[in-house]
Symmetry: C2
Subunit: 482 residues, 2 copies
């Protein structure tokens, strides 16, 4: 008998979906790693250097002590009033754990919570947003989720009715968006970021692409903006953001603001402004613009990817639509409570005067300043390579250099039935153990080639990466130079 | 300008989806609770007694100490080698935490893991399945998920192409299934459990419903079986399970086995057998049957709902289909690491000789024997009510009594534009504070009325629930008796 399920009989939307960040190159890297473990001299390198994914702690970044203290105490509250605990934990972590437990009905950290998340934690997050923006935030607008990804899926599920519904997405984009749109059967309407102006986001380009989509019978429902940019690392200027808000208001689009890198800004001339703050400062309120802001505990200086915490702040939707969002959230009951707690902590870290404040701020500043140095070193290294240009990483965790590949290399890639950028990344990996993600996984102007490189390897690894990359690139160009 | 999103312009699949466990009655209960908090004598009861959801710790069930010790230590590993830690934590929890940390690359509990979950934890889970079933389990078949719900969604997403694809589901069913099928745009093909034979699952009924669906042009792709049953509480006999396996094999259906209540069996004459064990004991292997088993940390004696841990074991699918399941899992990166760790712990709890074994088994047995007593007390109470009959809860966490409502009550419900069972539950809630879920949220034979009641309120609350329920029922019947 034929098997009940074959690739020809599964949901074609699943087949269409792609997710390059964990795609082919990464699978190859994992295989090479296993080969090295079995036979240390199997390849011309001793270890795989993963620069493919924004996963800081996998590369040695240490968690913020205060956050972990609070999580541990909330996981095992019965030690809270033991005397040994005073010796092991900071006084303010103990105090914070008590506060959080008091916000949880019955202090039950093992219970399902309200489907939007524990009310007291949402109060804390709303207060954190208010402090950040200087404008009010409503705890009832917060939906806590297992990282930002499920929140993005939830909004796509709500907005997409068929392939006739379109979502405006930056190109290059973070492939969660293309994957989620494909899974929900919608149409990705691309708008191109301008590499020549540091990955600038031009409203004229948005308008052009919107009109093109309309002319094809597509109803564009929302605009995705990733700020700071992934994979492009730019930080939007406030003026630019105002134009974007105005555009969404004029065109009746939901603004989906991916703001998960809000703490990751590395240049003094740029500052993060939330789209909520920008729209409120323009005088636009609930009735003027539908805005969803995504935040995650996986990024920032904390990088707590494995905790799967995050939230979306949903503003400017009618009550009956909000009820539908709540219903979808309720089908999965709630997000994990540790992730919820952590989301509240990143929005209200220790303050001046708290016992942990000094160690906390030293840890935070150490991580952020090191990330800034790593970004600069890698940017400079890329810009020294023949045929490579690289914009500054003003924020986020990535560089997205452009590589001008020789015709001969493009032909060799064609012969190997692979995209030229994937060909380069594969060669780089097998020669050096360095894992980059080909630009084709994020989208790029046709005929241009890029790759994404995270700035996350520990600082003492960076010189080695630069050396290996430079040597490889030299020999690759020697082999294929026209 | 019109708002960008209205209920008329959202995805109609979202509108169609329903989830009664957190539906209207629960919203009303939450409102009543707020009123009582403001004004203690606002209603004729002092507290809301939530019997609507399988959320044990929200009603006072305590977590298993060993599990929480290990979680806390993994959250804050830097205390592991401090001397105070020996005084606060059991020796085997410290040992187990070290073991787990050694299984995590770089001991980074804050990193994204492999998208199926940490390999070492999957090894532990596979070993636990082997010990349970006496048949081999492959760690590569395990997909760790944030509770069982996302795993169910993932399979529905894979299997459902359009409304022409059907999924056979028990009626009554747990509304996650109807909600997930609606969200993915498929057709729920009902099969009725036989209340007269203790919610028996007859293969003749499966065949009949399969044929009916086929005659309507529906391609039935999978059979959902919930064992022990939710909301019905029955435990399937092994012979019955063999017939079900044979049916799936014959008809080329994927068997989706919801086995999250595998530890919740309360009667000595019944035992839980996994469908994997049953099919392997029939000599059916990978090539013979496509089987997915769902497990969760939210149920059992642990009841760790807030941790959102769970897994599915996926067997009998071709490698290229498995790759597609992996891809969908990878779009969300990974499930939360604490939930992953807890899933490994419930599948490998302390063993005889471990320091924690005695306290662990006392906690476990205390919870399970108390649940058995509560189930029996509530079952007896329901069976004493006029016009109510209630099957035994052999397992799971629920009773699903049938109520024969007087014609006058049905007319009153019609006048109030509500289903008769919802009418009864609403009256019960406003009179007593007790929250049941109407049977219409789970499905029932047309013209019959039921409600679901969990057996989870703490034992000292049960007499009060019985008294209040009995008094209410008496007066309700007095009011409406024909």
């Amino acid at each position: 008998m034929a098997p009940p399920v074959t690739v020809d009989t599964i949901n074609p939307k699943v087949l269409e979906c792609e997710y390059a960040v964990r795609g082919e190159i990464v699978t190859l890297a994992q295989n090479l790693q296993q080969e090295i473990q079995k036979k240390p001299d199997a390849h011309p390198f001793e270890e795989i250097l993963y620069c493919n994914i924004g996963n800081p702690q996998s590369l040695g970044q240490q968690p913020i002590t205060f956050f972990r203290e609070v999580l541990a105490l909330c996981d095992h509250p019965s030690i809270l009033d033991k005397s040994e605990t005073q010796g092991l934990f900071s006084a303010d972590s103990i105090e914070r754990a008590w506060q959080i437990l008091d916000q949880i009905p019955g202090r039950a950290t093992g219970a399902y919570s309200h489907s939007q998340g524990i009310k007291g934690l949402r109060d804390t997050i709303a207060a954190g947003i208010e402090a950040r923006d200087g404008f009010p935030a409503d705890p009832n607008d917060i939906f806590l989720t297992d990282g930002a990804s499920p929140a993005v899926h939830m909004m796509m599920q709500l907005l997409i009715r068929s392939e006739k519904d379109g979502i405006l997405c930056p190109i290059p984009q973070y492939p969660l968006y293309s994957a989620s749109i494909a899974l929900h059967g919608g149409t990705l309407v691309p708008y191109y970021l301008d590499e020549a102006t540091g990955w600038g986001l031009e409203v004229s380009e948005l308008k052009k692409q919107l009109e093109t989509a309309k002319s094809k019978g597509i109803t564009v429902r929302a605009l995705v903006v990733i700020n700071p940019g992934n994979p492009t690392g730019q930080v939007l200027a406030e003026e630019n953001q105002r134009d974007i808000v105005e555009f969404c208001k004029q065109e009746g689009l939901v603004l989906l603001a991916d703001e998960v890198y809000q703490e990751n800004v590395y240049v003094p001339e740029k500052k993060f402004h939330s789209f909520k703050k920008v729209s409120r400062s323009m005088g636009y309120g609930e009735k003027d613009i539908s805005l969803v802001s995504f935040q995650s505990v996986s990024k920032g200086y904390y990088g707590e990817c494995g905790k799967r915490g995050g939230y979306m702040e949903v503003t400017g939707f009618a009550a009956d639509v909000r009820e539908q969002i709540y219903k979808v959230a309720s089908v999965n009951l709630c997000s994990n409570i540790s992730g919820q707690i952590l989301a509240s902590l990143v929005m209200s870290p220790p303050k001046v005067g708290d016992e942990s404040y000094e160690s906390y701020s030293a840890e935070r500043d150490g991580i952020l300043s090191s990330l800034a140095r790593r970004a600069k070193t890698l940017e400079d290294a890329f810009n020294k390579l023949e045929g490579v240009t690289c914009n500054k990483a003003e924020g986020a965790m990535y560089l997205f250099p452009r590589i001008c590949l020789p015709e001969k290399a493009i032909k060799a890639a064609e012969a190997a039935k692979t995209a030229p950028d994937a060909f380069y990344c594969r060669r780089l990996l097998t020669a050096t153990g360095i894992v980059f993600v080909p630009g084709s996984g994020f989208g790029q102007v046709p005929g241009t080639w890029h790759f994404r490189c995270t700035i996350l390897p520990q600082e003492d690894k960076i010189p080695e990466i630069v050396t290996r990359l430079t040597e490889f690139h030299q020999s690759f160009m020697d082999e294929y130079r026209d």
